[in-house]
Structure formats: structure tokens, C-alpha cells
Amino acid sequence: MAPDMQTQTTEAKAKPRNLLEVKGLKKYFPIQKGLLRKTVGYVKAVDDVNFFVREGETLGLVGESGCGKSTAGRSIIRLYEPTAGDVLFRSRHLGGEGNGLINLMGLPPDKMKTIRKEISMVFQDPINSLNPRMTVSDIVGEPMFIHGQRMGPETEAVIVNLLERVGLRPDHLRRYPHEFSGGQRQRIGIARALSLNPQLVICDEPVSALDVSIQAQTLNLLQDLQQDFNLSYIFVAHDLSVVQHISDRVAVMYVGKVAEIADAEELYSAPLHPYTEALLSAVPKADPLYKSDRIVMQGDVADPSNPPSGCYFHPRCRYAQEVCKLKNPELRELKPDHFVACHRAEELKLEGI
């Protein structure tokens, strides 16, 4: 899997450079039982995930609840210490080896702190992601404070500028989070994420908790900011239409593994993985005459602490054959820039939207 990605990088010269490469990322949470907290098993939340993000693009990360999208996002910046794998990042402050990428895994804390200036996060819950005891100015200015900038008129000017950029007013500066609506709070969270002028923003379901009308506003804001600040996004979401709107490329995850990665349009029009097809069939369409032939998947998402044999999706897959039960499919590049992990990807004719 990993070699595939590297050859891909060298081939695609016309395309922007890779900003981030995730290789074989694993995050297992131990299950402990008993008085002595003996580890009896692992929840394989992220199990050998590979993808890359190019400079200035948005990579959507989709999947059902509990498939490890958020964990993958958080493991990248080591909010959860990954069990294994490499995360390579093109830092502006720290030089990398050879290809200009620096491995974030095993980076000492002081260097990791520098990296944290360049990768920031926007969180899902607009209520929980802002400390209720801090004013907007404290919240937005906190990353700057942590990185050694003292509070003063200059810092405040930066904060005011950020607030205006995300559509809030300077007089919101001294207010507390509870005085804002959900959409406004999310804007505060976005302003905080931008305060250190990052290269990559990991958006962890940033619009899932918002009203549909507010979702659109927030998505448009994120797109505008991407243009202005030359940002790259990893956009974690479970809503395929939201991801379609904002993403250049989309990665579909299932039980801790990547099932398919492709350009957004390609993935939506010509999916190669049966799981992607099933997800797409569930996207509602604004056409009253449209007759849905929705694929209803049997059963629940597999248990990540006890995944099925072979392809994790085979118990729910309507195209499953004997080989799917026995062998775990590798993620391979079937078409240029289109990776899929399915044994039968070549032969199946799947429907998109």
C-alpha cells in the first residue's frame, strides 16, 4: 500500500506537492478488565490507514459512526498517541529529510509544539469545544498565548481581525460562549483554529451539530478561508452531500480501514467499492419523482474489537464471495488517483449518483 502512494507522488508532477502523508496509521485502544487491569483485547479504531493530502486541497473523510474517522483525524496530530504508523508533514518551520517531509511520530515534544502551529483543529460540538469560563478573546487568543505571544493591543488587533474574517464583530470580544448561537460558536472555533496561521486544518465534523441553513454558511466560510489563507483541510463528516460540496478528494472509511479514495466527482459518479455504493444510495435527492432504489445494508457496523475475517465489509456486502471471507483486500490504485480496497472492484459495475 505504502509503495503505491509513493510512486503516485512521483508520477503526478503537475499536481501540487503532498502536504501530509499518512502511512499505516494504527490506533488500538486497549480493553482492560479485572482488578489488575489486564488487557484482554483491543478496539482497532484505526487499523492501517493510508492517505495523503495535497497542498491547498480538501480531503473528505467519510463513513458511518464508529468507523474511526475522528480517531484518525486526532491521531494525526497525536491527540491520541497512535499505536503504529507514520505521519509525514511538510513543515514550514522544521526541515524534513529528503523529500521535505518530517515524520511527526516520535517527534520530541518541543518540535511537536512547533508543528501544532501548522496543523490545527476545528471540533464538532460548538458547545463543548469552547471553555464556558473564557471570553471570546481568551479563546481565540489562547493558541497564540501558548506559543509565547503576550496579550496586548497587537495580539488583540490580530484577534479582532480574525473575528471579522469569520463574520463576527469586534464587540463580541469580551463576551462568553453561552451568549452565541451554535453557528457563531463554530465561527469562534474556526477563528481559534486559524489564529496561528496554519497550513492544515483538521475539521472534525464541524457542521454535524448545526442547522442545515447554518451548515451551508459555515461550509462557504470554510471555502472562502481556504482561498484566502491557502489552507488544506481534512474534512471529517458522515454527511456525504456536505463532503461532496467541500471536498476535492474523498476517502471512505469502514471499521478503521480506508475502503476507497478518489477525486470527489469520480467517487460520487463511479464508485468502485460496494460500501461506497451503498452509502451513496442513501443520499437523499431533491426530486419528488425520483424512485429510490436504496441499498439497505444488513446488520450493523462490524465491531472494531472483534472484526470479521477477510474483508471487514463482507457480512454486509451483497457482492461478497468466498475470497472476501478469507483474504483482506489491499488498498490498490485501480485508476489514476483512484484507490480501492475490494477484491472484485474490476468486475463489479456499481452505481453512483
Partner: protein, 380 residues
């Protein structure tokens, strides 16, 4: 649509933006609770009166002894023997008589001698707050003109000292031991609780088992053991501080547990992750993000725990394990009144009890009010 646009003011109205911090909301809600405010005012005046200005409030200096050994409270009079009304209250002189059969002392009023009680009178010299020299007392009789006169509104002890004066001075130590002890408990309990909850693992195990160990001990024997360990040659004031430390050392466990529980829920909030993702240190997360969230609970717990602290001091001193005689605390005063003989012959020495009761009631009133107020979004 046009109407709306016309009525929209061109310049934004000069309405003052009122943005309330959490604590401002708490204050608003607290103010509406009369009982809690009463408790708070009582405590503030107790602390101000007993801790800062007992020298001024009392008519005598603490060690002002007199011949009026175990004298009952002197009566205040407004009307003299001739039925004349005096605006200024006065006391009669007292004469001691000894019953030769029972050897009991009795005091009778000598109505021929009248001593008016005045406010802001000059008497024993003292140093206010330890450095302001003064001899002004809130009330009293003129000692220079009538050295034989005495006013004892709550009677006198075995050395002829004014009991009310002793209660005032005793309140200083008793109230302070509760406050200082509780502050130390909060410092111990919060620091250990937040570490226990935030780091988890081994640190958590060690701290929690220590708490259980301390909680499993019966209080009084543990106090006795610890108090016995205080060297007898230590000065009373060193004993006092040692006792404070002992009290808080035994009591931090419960608070640490509650803080730990709160931290366990708070640390999963996304704002903690946000701070971490920005590179915040553990100390910053613990003290800037997690601890402020527990403050409201800690304040309530602490307020409701101070009475326990005061009562512990009282109980220990009463048992003779805490503060000792040259010091005056409410526990020491109760020890004086602890015998059947004392209750029979000098019942006024029980005046200490109402002071302790009111203090503890006031703390509970304040604590209950705070508990309601610290949840300003709740409906009550």
C-alpha cells in the same frame, strides 16, 4: 420589507452591551436568596468583629483579671431605686459575700454606687491588628474614675475575667482555624484531585488508595495520635498551626475525590482537546481549563465543610487534645464549662454555645445559597 428597513436605525443604538461572566450571573442569583445573604452578612461581620477588632469590641483586655471571681452577669439598669429613668444605662457596684456554711460566693448589688456605661470609652491599652496602639473600647465603665466598677455582660470566669471578652478573643482562633484549615484542604484536595483525574493510571491509584486509607481511620483516635505527636514544649501558637495542618491533612481526601470525579468528566470536553491540539502544557490544561470548571463545586463543598472544621477544633480542644489554656478558643472556653460544677455554679459560661451555633448555621445558610446560585442556568 421596506418598513423593516426604515425602522432599522442607521446608526446602531447606543445600547450598552452587558456581557455577564459566569461569576456575575452567580452573584445576581445569590443576591436574590435572602437567607443566604443573611448568612453571608453574619459571617462577614463575625469574621470582621472576631478576627480583626475583638480588642475594640470587648470592654477589657483579654488578661484583665479582677476580684469578681465567677461573678454572674451584671444587670444593666435604666431606672434607679428612686424610679428615675436614665437614658444612659448604668450598673450598680457589686459586693461579694461568702456563705460560711457552704463556702459559696454570692454577689449582691450595692444600689448606693451607680456607674454609667458609656460608648467609646478609654480603658485597657491594646494594639489594633497588632500595630495600631489604642485604648478605645466600644462600651464599658470609666475605669480611671471608678476602678472598682466592672461590667460583665456574660459573667466572669474563675480568674474574674470578662467572659464576653474571652468569647470575642476565642472566636478569632476558632474562626481562623476553620478558614485557614479549609484553604489548606482546598489546596491539598484540588491539586491532588486534579492530578488524580487528569493523569489517571498509577498516580490516580496511589492518590485514591491514600484517600481511602485516611478515610478508613476513625477520626478521633487519629487526631489523638497526631496531637500526641506534637511536642509539649512547643509554643501554643505552633501547636495551633500544627493542629490546623492536622485537620486539613485528615480532611483533604473527600474533596480530592469529588474534584477527581469532576475532572474525569471535564477532561473529555472538546475544549480540552482544543487546548491540547494547540500545544498547551499539562499544567495549563489542569489549572486554566479544568480547575475553573470545578471551582463552583469546590466552593460549595468547602463552605459546608468549614463548620466541620470549627467543630473539630472545638471538640479536640474540649478533649484537651487541641489548643491549650493560655490560648483562648471556643473549644478552650467550652472546656472550662465542661464540669457539672461549672454548669451548676457558672451557667453563663455556656454563652459560648450560641456563638458556635450561629456561626455554623450561618455557614450552612451561605453554603446552601451558594449551591443554588452556582448553577445560574438552573431554574429555581
Amino acid at each position: 420589507m421596506t418598513v423593516v428597513e426604515q425602522t432599522t436605525p442607521a446608526a446602531p443604538a447606543k445600547q450598552k452591551q452587558v456581557s455577564q461572566s459566569y461569576w456575575a450571573l452567580v452573584w445576581w442569583k445569590f443576591k436574590r436568596n435572602r437567607i443566604a445573604v443573611l448568612g453571608g452578612i453574619l459571617l462577614l461581620s463575625f469574621y470582621f468583629g472576631f478576627v480583626f477588632i475583638p480588642e475594640f469590641l470587648s470592654p477589657y483586655e483579654l488578661n484583665h483579671t479582677s476580684d469578681f471571681v465567677e461573678a454572674p452577669p451584671t444587670k444593666l439598669h435604666f431606672i434607679d431605686t428612686e424610679g428615675k429613668f436614665h437614658l444612659q444605662p448604668f450598673v450598680y457596684g457589686m459586693e461579694r459575700k461568702l456563705d460560711f456554711k457552704t463556702r459559696a460566693r454570692t454577689y449582691v448589688e450595692d444600689t448606693t454606687r451607680m456607674y454609667p456605661i458609656s460608648l467609646f470609652i478609654h480603658g485597657d491599652e491594646y494594639k489594633l491588628l497588632g500595630f495600631i496602639p489604642s485604648d478605645l473600647h466600644l462600651y464599658g465603665v470609666d475605669q480611671k474614675a471608678n476602678p472598682e466598677a466592672i461590667v460583665l455582660i456574660m459573667g466572669a470566669d474563675a480568674l474574674g475575667r470578662d467572659w464576653f471578652t474571652r468569647i470575642l478573643y476565642g472566636g478569632r482562633l476558632s474562626l481562623m482555624i476553620g478558614l485557614i484549615g479549609q484553604v489548606m484542604t482546598i489546596i491539598f484536595g484540588m491539586t491532588l484531585g486534579v492530578m488524580s483525574g487528569y493523569y489517571g493510571g498509577m498516580i490516580d491509584q496511589v492518590i485514591q488508595r491514600t484517600t481511602e486509607f485516611l478515610n478508613a481511620f476513625p477520626d478521633i483516635p487519629l487526631f489523638m495520635a497526631l496531637a500526641a505527636a506534637i511536642p509539649t514544649f512547643w509554643s501554643p501558637i505552633a501547636v495551633y498551626f500544627m493542629l490546623t495542618i492536622i485537620l486539613s491533612f485528615v480532611r483533604w481526601g473527600g474533596l480530592a475525590r469529588q474534584v477527581r470525579g469532576l475532572i474525569l468528566s471535564l477532561r473529555e470536553r472538546e475544549y480540552v482537546l482544543a487546548a491540547k491540539s494547540a500545544g498547551a502544557s499539562d499544567a495549563r490544561i489542569m489549572f486554566r481549563h479544568l480547575l475553573p470548571g470545578t471551582m463552583s463545586h469546590v466552593i460549595v463543598i468547602a463552605t459546608l465543610a468549614i463548620p466541620g472544621m470549627i467543630l473539630s477544633e472545638t471538640a479536640l480542644s474540649w478533649l484537651g487534645l487541641g489548643l491549650r489554656a493560655p490560648l483562648t478558643s471556643w473549644g478552650v472556653l467550652l472546656q472550662d464549662a465542661a464540669t457539672v460544677r461549672a454548669i451548676h455554679t457558672t451557667p453563663w459560661e455556656l454563652w459560648t454555645v450560641p456563638f458556635i451555633l450561629v456561626t455554623i448555621l450561618a455557614y450552612n445558610m451561605l453554603g446552601d445559597g451558594l449551591r443554588d446560585a452556582l448553577d445560574p442556568y438552573g431554574t429555581r
